[in-house]
Symmetry: C2
Subunit: 225 residues, 2 copies
DNA sequence: AGCATCCTCCAAATATCCATGGAATATTGT
DNA sequence: ACAATATTCCATGGATATTTGGAGGATGCT
């Protein structure tokens, strides 16, 4: 059945190759990049900004992700767009987040420290769909417009957080607003709900966000409609 | 809405905490340990041997896994048993394997180099269950006996690979054997089928193995029955 | 062609990880 | 209390990662 020496080497080689995928997930900045990429494709420059990285640093991290097969690239003129290599990659990232929050108290503490106090109402995916169908809720997508275009909840209005204060008038005074953003670790919807309630509006937040919505196979619309 | 300085720091802290879970998956030896742990709990000593590691090295890796929350420990007298922290951890590991093999050609090559030529018949989980129900197959579990005890396919016979040659007589001459082992990267079933066919027996191999069987919510029996 | 833009590659400094062996700790049995 | 077993802790050297700045490539525009 073959030389045991070679067999042990090949076993190590196999698991080392598998570990390359794990290595891709072993750095906080790379996870931030994946978090953004889970919303849709982005240029290197945009990704560097989103993750607060130098351009060359971001490029290096993206190379790591690419070699692990988690992302692919597309050239568009002078710029290169990175995107997740498939839905399974988004699922892997989502499951990593779940496992980390379930089994690692530190991660959970770090999240609440980042997202702020748990003072906002939360709405499930089913409740959101029910309210939309009944016409009793106004759903707003507070992510950057680019991410809304790449994929959003049908019927949602694109109202990026940094424009929300200025565009308050677009929301009916008595509207029952439901805000959502990227996912479990996204602060935008929390801040949006706080801003709205501070202005006397009724607002709640979709549980999780677009990543989990998509992984749960809920309907997704694209474009600027 | 808070000091943007602090917010960036907290964001980094959050993703660094999440990355701890990724780091746990970033080393080939740790993945080997998880592979064994996915079959059931094991002592440090047994794990070190299974992964071909020094005792202190294995202990260090297990500490890393523990800090990431992927495994828990149970003390039994003088020895400490490690086990996966939950089914979601097994699912995460399984998904990592899937993603790696799907998107990383190297990993796939490394696997075929390790498992050997693709010369063995493969049986799906449904086919196995059908044949068992019809009584047309003899299912053998070629993992170490300890793993069989921790959980096996109902009706399977424990016949560890290293005893298979000596215990051939226990299998009816004309039996249609289906062998299985740990999972996608486990070589035991491949070797078992090759050994059996070399002895003129009819033998096939269950696709994947016990990990995927369990993740697919198929029935599992425990004990030495 | 010449220039600007976007990105990757390279090299060096710093930080982190890994394997190993010896010491320390915890439990069991005598 | 003492010895034996199983594991963790600690210190160390060597390997690998991360960040940064500058050079080099590719594309598009004029």
């Amino acid at each position: 059945m073959g030389d045991p020496q070679h067999k042990a080497e090949r076993k190590s080689a196999l698991y080392d190759a598998l570990a390359r995928t794990g290595k891709a997930l072993s750095n906080g900045k790379r996870l931030e990049l994946l978090d953004v990429l889970a919303q849709g494709e982005r240029s290197v420059d945009a990704l560097a900004q989103a993750a607060g990285l130098g351009l060359t640093t971001a490029s290096a991290h993206l190379q790591t992700l690419k070699q692990a097969g988690l992302v692919t690239t597309r050239r568009d003129g002078v710029r290169i767009h990175y995107r997740l290599a498939g839905d399974d990659v988004a699922a892997l990232y989502g499951l990593l987040l779940n496992v980390a929050h379930t089994h690692q108290p530190d991660a959970d503490h770090a999240r609440t420290a980042y997202l702020g106090p748990d003072d906002t109402d939360e709405v499930t995916r089913d409740e959101l769909l029910d309210r939309v169908k009944a016409g009793t809720a106004t759903v707003i997508d507070v992510r950057p417009a680019e991410e809304y275009t790449a994929g959003h909840i049908p019927g949602a209005l694109s109202l990026p957080l940094d424009q929300l204060a200025a565009r308050l008038a677009e929301l009916p005074e008595n509207a029952n607003v439901v805000a959502y953003c990227r996912g479990t670790n996204c602060v935008l919807a929390h801040d949006a709900v706080r801003l709205l309630t501070a202005h006397g509006r009724r607002a709640a937040r979709l549980i999780d966000g677009m990543l989990e919505w998509r992984l749960d196979h809920r309907p997704v619309a694209t474009g600027t409609a």
